[in-house]
Symmetry: D2
Subunit: 383 residues, 4 copies
């Protein structure tokens, strides 16, 4: 095992769910060492959080720009940075690191608005550094398996895509209670962007469907709602999709669907077969060849192929979960970073969502908001 | 037990799946005796089928009109008739019986077109006879349970409805093979109506959602497809629904979703709870009060109330299925017929889909077809 | 369709769960007409029940012997009788009909004790009449499918059988409350026999395993308990089984397993594959060929063969349940009776549990009780 | 976060499934740093494996004794060691570290035979060091939840325990093919011990049942088999259990149950309720209070309490798996080690299987083997 990649983190202080997830994901395979951080926009909190995480005081920064500048100068400065802030900070933070050649691993959605997304694409493409977007659900082995099967033609020509992502944690106006920081920024259009559920989870659903099918959306029709009184962003979205080649899709995202924890589910149907995968039971992939019994493919078990097995750590029946799927994005990033730093080509089998995928996600949110404002008119993604 | 109700049947000869279902449904509770039939539009087949079913030769008719006339005249003629023909015959057949005061139990959709549906409503309302539409899924005990819970406010104010009905038996152009009669008329616009999957199964999904929630659709936006080359009606429909009171819904119907046999599924979400029911596992109803664990209510078991138990025949854990659910429609019809014939009011707890529900179903298909033709514009039901 | 078979019933008056089930099962396929009954051991109740069921007063008997004698004499007397009494009445009642050549359809277990069972075998074998035992779970299409697959060698050589039947309705001393007739006789050794859960449901589990595998038990070791204070028969049984050919099994039956309604489940493992079937979800059969993904075979759907399809009434995805499975026993009985009465051989594909299967069941209970009394010593079935 | 605990490893070189698992488990929470290893019994392999893992050459040992001696002497030597060898090495290896005060985290079963187990108990008790046995399934949050609920009396007085652990990877004589190292030592009585499936997985099942219920086995009756020809240890075990207080249990372990990957499942029934947990779907716990609907408790979701939540990392609906459960054992070990090294009491809520649990497991295997040799006679555990 080569030396660990030196990693910094922007955001992810106390109260920050996703920061902890990124840290575990970075640790699982032993490929990264977290050595620096600008963990909060409040310098005091940033320091306190750094201490809790065992960062050296001189690498605990009060500001991401300061961190980018200094880490770029010092010997053994960070090679990569994880950006796990609220959405509106993704762009300014990523910019600082990318332009200094520091690889960026950024949480989704790419940015809180489309102009930022476009600028970030440009910056990323001009940078020598990598940009990895943590649409983490693409890291699940059985999602990779599904993608491989679609690509191999096991489903024949695709016809229908059904994707949904349902939660219930925003069923009440929890953002007004002062007890739930997550809900505050995730329902604040300044920080989260113009889309609520569409941005927070709809982008995952949209990305997952694209990742597995390889299809691009031509246009969509969206009917968004804010069911909770006073909520400033959508908390439920109904979307009809028209993909290239005449494939049709439906996408449902909701954060007010009582009884759903984190129910991301994808179903794909083609002329020759169907697939079904659900995030809450991620070690299984249902596959039905037309006219034959349903088959339950299992991670690292019967029916799982090389592509899935490469990103599995344990044998079938030993369930892997959210953190392992997330860690696969980090593991892929590590492989890409090592290749890059060695001046080699990134191996062809390295797969991770990138800045272009991020742009599509932000364009998806933008299109949903535009369509819904026009009574669910068909709109194109403004790519 | 009172004397059995004398029943006739129109359609339901050989090769007719749904005729056999109606006959079993009529027999299960011992409330009906099938004594007459015009079982095929081909007189010869009608006779042969009558013989197989043990009907007396003089009550085996070659024509439904002839049957209506004669049965109306003879002593101990039929009291009710089941109409189980292709859709386009529903209207002319039902008319003959209704105007002679013979109760009609008719398969769905009500008619193959909206004008017929409107006329039938008028005839039914002017007739002294009952009109029962076999949206059989409303007969399932746990569907009744769901309806009762929504009505009782267990879900709070409703917000979102997700309903889908997926099959795969029309994934190929089976209607061109000459081997599948069902597929022939069900894909022939002359016989089935302008909607394919929307009419054949979408109406069930639409009706189920309405039945459980008590909501009316204000407008809908539909994107219909005929994926199989040469098919003359839709085989996949994506529909966004706007219900009264701001409730939003999505409806998916498909007969090309490979891997789905008869996957009708309803999910309803309100401010206080959620419900989920799936036709293929009909003895279960998932109920989640907000913030509490999911509960698995079981037919005749814990969590099932009087409304469900009244239409159950066996204790929890002894699964009932499609035929028992269907039989519940017949059992309700029997109660209504007995009351009617005794000159009494129909008991308040008798529940069955009626001609108005049928009209709504046909209007749903009509609206889907109109909307889809206008690029999924929002349209109202033409009631 | 030929004329319906004239059926009588012994037992099955008010409060009798299983009587109603037999009546529906006899009706579903239109093969039987219930025309006579001795529906209760109390003549008054017998009359009242007969009236409710619409039996003619002169064919409503106060006593099964009287019924057997008279029905045997009259023109168009019953051709078959269903015996649905508490267990201890099975023998004396069956005897009266068998010796008069009237076919018997009898609920399980065969008798309440082994001597009666042996005598009944002899009487049945000497009678020209048929004896059908309603181990109704053998009527499920997917159970037939499983049996066929084992016989065809799809599982290779069998190794392990796991069968269980768990309920919870006797978790408390409900038999002492005066509110539950079922529990009273089913926990009374005089009426139910020496085994409680072993007799009531263990025999079903035992029979199901034998039916599917074709194996005979060589010896068993049983540890029985009466967990509810004061209960006079076992309410939980743990049994290890040794089948012919070195196959090993475990059987668990319980009526105090809280959370279980009617959880009969069978798993069979051989060198080449495994099978799993659960009564509460009877339309599915899991099949795993070694080294391949699990396959979900569905009734009338993909993977179901002729043997299962012959006893199915509806297409895949239209669930059948307990009553249809039960009705299949009646349908098989009807075929056998019609052949018999026509002087023909019973068709080779007619399958139903018979008096020998019943004897094995009673011997199973007897062996469990003997083994448990000797500290779970291995004992042989006293066949 | 305090400095990481310095960890060594014995065993776990190439081809060693469980070594990799321990390493990930040690990394997930960032509590340990692997700094030394005697990774193979072949010195050459040990070196190569050390290099792959990035260990310093001078801390890559060819022998565990050498490692124990040197690490005990050097500054910043290891504080704890993970022993992940075949079973027969557990005792000699653990002894070397324990007697030098180095904490031991040891894979299960404790030892390959009962005398070793007894000696190890004595050594561990005399040592100042901790002994942690990785019955990792006790680390799953919902297993902790189940245990808490039993202890809190939610199930009332316990009556019945059903536990099983089924796999199929030894369905053929894979140990003779030269391609599967795991199977070689796990079927070799010299290395694995007298029990095959009983030792390898039966001990897990046995431990899990005890962990959740708090019950001790008084005696057991076991019927073991080696179904695969030539196999020298059992590959299927049927066991009846008698727990203290009259509770009865059944345990099934099998490595030839085709279609099962790693199907460990526990069901517990008491007077007031029942629980069900399955390792392959570990984020769920079914709970049924008597007479109420089943409830699906979810990890970090509704129904999960503090005890479960403390050992969870992600919110409900974000599945955790085998590695996180395993990591919980390491996290508990870390807390205990830190307390110990700080001279403090181990916090009362730290929970991990210890050497006494290990002894019970080995005694369980010993009892199974003795019982089976005596035709499944009841035997006591030789504790």
């Amino acid at each position: 095992m080569a030396t660990r990649i030196r990693l910094g983190m922007v955001g992810g202080g106390n109260d920050a769910f996703i920061g902890g997830v990124h840290r575990i994901a970075a640790r699982i395979d032993g490929e990264f060492d977290l050595v620096a951080g600008a963990l909060s926009s409040t310098p005091e909190k940033a320091k306190a959080s750094g201490a809790v995480l065992g960062l050296a005081p001189d690498r605990t920064y009060g500001d991401f720009r300061e961190m980018a500048i200094r880490e770029n100068r010092i010997k053994d400065g960070i090679q990569a940075v994880s950006i796990v802030t609220p959405n509106h900070v993704h762009y300014p933070a990523a910019r600082e690191f990318l332009k200094r050649g520091i690889h960026v691993i950024c949480d989704k959605p790419l940015t809180s608005n489309l102009p930022d997304a476009r600028k970030l694409v440009k910056i990323a493409e001009e940078s020598g550094a990598l940009f990895v977007l943590t649409h983490n659900y693409t890291g699940y082995p059985m999602v990779r398996q599904a993608r491989e099967m679609v690509a191999a033609g096991d489903l024949g020509e695709l016809r229908v895509v059904q994707v949904e992502y349902a939660q219930d944690w925003l069923s009440t106006a929890v953002e007004t209670t002062g007890t739930n920081k997550q809900s505050e920024w995730r329902t604040d259009p300044e920080r989260t962007g113009a889309g609520g559920s569409t941005g927070d989870i709809g982008t995952h659903a949209f990305n997952l469907a694209s990742f597995v099918t390889g299809l691009e959306v031509e246009s969509l029709s969206a009917d968004l709602d804010s069911f909770v009184e006073g909520r400033r962003v959508d908390d439920n979205g109904h979307v009809m999709l028209r993909y290239t080649g005449g494939v049709k899709g439906m996408l449902w995202c909701s954060q007010v669907a009582v009884g759903n924890e984190n129910a991301l589910k994808l179903r794909v149907y083609g002329t020759k077969g169907g697939l079904e995968w659900a995030q809450e039971d991620p070690n299984y992939l249902w596959y039905t060849p037309f006219g034959e019994p349903k088959r339950l493919l299992t991670r690292s078990g019967a029916g799982a192929g090389d592509v899935a097995n490469r990103v599995s750590r344990t044998p079938g029946g030993h369930p892997e979960g959210y953190l392992e799927g997330f860690a696969n994005i980090y593991a892929e990033a590590a492989r890409a970073i090592r290749a890059k730093e060695a001046g080699e080509d990134i191996p062809a089998d390295v797969v991770f969502p990138n800045v272009q995928d991020g742009l599509k996600g932000v364009a998806f949110v933008d299109a949903c908001v535009r369509s819904s404002a026009r009574d669910a008119a068909w709109v194109k993604l403004a790519l």
